[in-house]
Symmetry: D2
Subunit: 181 residues, 4 copies
């Protein structure tokens, strides 16, 4: 059985009411793209992929949301003004949460709670609120389509073609790894 | 309920025993890529996609095969020698049937039996031998991944993001339409 | 005869001494990529192209520099901290000037002096400091290679395959048009 | 000084008079794409690149032609019928020569005379008929644009970003190496 997906800790939401939450989406499969606006692989791959996925499935079956989890360059990309400008230029009109800042570690609170390795991270949450996929780095389109459909069908698949993830200590074309807490 | 997928009419098989057939694959989901070796969209899109799909799923769950359905330039691409040379250069090592020639119409027999519109055509057949997808032209990777997983999960989805198909009378980047019978 | 390229008005330079200027590059052909860090076509096309061009030619023959000309979202992308974080994540290690802010119009001073239409804009300046190309929007690689070589060879070509430029009032995959002064 | 480009040995021409020859193009720069129709890198990269180059330059300055140099699968791709069908489906309407067969070695005569390593090979011939570039494998667009412009400008450049070429004994995404004579 997959674990329950913990509620997000956010400081604000864009394209959504202030009290938006994961719980509001219960009953639909939820694709969450966790990104930073200065993360190259998020901009070139993960966010366009989330937009394609959103167009491929009915809104009743799949909800797509973003989570801006800033763990570096906080002063540049960590504000709602920065997120709002970025979402405007890249035409992102789905709900995007600003992951709650943690002044002591610099790792935002949802990213820490999920033990995410960096950005982009793709989460998939089923209709009952269980976390059925958590993937760091570039995810293949066929694999994503299969994972979403498995969640819609309430089918627990064998693992579908996994990527090796990201090993570098700096941002690469595969993703930006976060520092240790 | 989906219709049963009719058995293929073939003159020969490459990378498979001479008596190979769809029936031999019953119990697994089957992805069939129907192509011509001189069809640009088959070479640039559909065949590489079939190879990616083959790597994403376990062989026990998904079988990938090809069908060479030649409806033009028969003398150049219609022979086993041509198919064999093409499969060698493009590293296609899955079973490929040579769709049975029909001397009177020029449209090969399986292509006619399925009323395919041209190449590439993607077929998806479920474990019980039912035809759950028939698509002419370029198919999106997310949509294909979702369709394969729905077949594996024995789930009948709402339609997933469909392409408009191909309208031109000549080969385009979307596919090669066949002439009327 | 091409016009002389006017000296840039900058508030600061990254990856260069504080008193850097176009004049310092006289004697070499200079490729200038004018961009904003929130401009999608700059990030996906123009800046990677400038980096490829830099690797294709000898440094003695071609200098590549950037100009960050911010005409929108000033508070988010208009600071050296923002430019520095962006250049770090995208591995831009050539000199980049911060186009001088003009508090009254919001259009930075070099952008206004050159009557640029938006970002990305590509400038090519010959060894004598003359402006031989100014192009707004996505520029083809073959055309860019040809333009650079014409400048190196001191040859004045017939126009090489030009793009139509950008007509939309918002950022598109072709570029971000600036507002009128 | 570059060597003179030897006249081609051809068995036939497509999209050109039967007595077509390199000499007929003297006075213009000539880009020659040497290919085989079953060579993946020719189909995916080199031939589309030749078509782009043809659109970028004026016909008075640059002529683009093809040479079909078949050194393997002769019975499938070595005929004018095969070349004609391929050129039709891929919309190649520039002159294409069929490199003259050599029954004893299997390496066609022009390929042998130029000591080409395989397909794709790109040749560039200046207005005086001198061979200024011979490149086996995938060639970068910026480098090609620069090489064409250098020939047009009658400028002899330092070498522009060269590719390592192809080492494998089989066709790869970089090209198809020919066997030794």
């Amino acid at each position: 059985m997959y674990p329950m997906a913990a509620e997000f800790h956010t400081d604000a939401w864009l394209n959504a009411p202030a009290d938006f939450s994961l719980a509001a989406l219960r009953g639909r499969v939820v694709l969450v793209e966790v990104f930073q606006l200065l993360c190259p692989a998020c901009v070139s791959h993960a966010l366009p992929q989330a937009q394609r996925a959103r167009q491929m499935f009915s809104r009743r079956q799949l909800a797509v949301i973003g989570l801006h989890s800033v763990f570096e360059h906080h002063e540049v990309q960590g504000t709602m003004a920065a997120l709002r400008a970025f979402a405007h230029e890249y035409r992102l009109d789905f709900p995007i949460g600003l992951d709650a800042a943690d002044g002591s570690t610099g790792i935002p609170r949802t990213m820490a709670a999920y033990s995410m390795q960096g950005t982009p991270t793709t989460l998939l949450i089923d209709r009952d609120g269980r976390l059925c996929l958590q993937h760091f780095g570039v995810l293949d389109d066929i694999a994503l389509g299969a994972a979403i459909m498995a969640a819609i069908a309430e089918y627990r698949p064998e693992s579908v073609g996994s990527d090796p993830g990201v090993a570098s200590a700096e941002c690469s074309s595969s993703g930006c790894p976060r520092p240790a807490d």
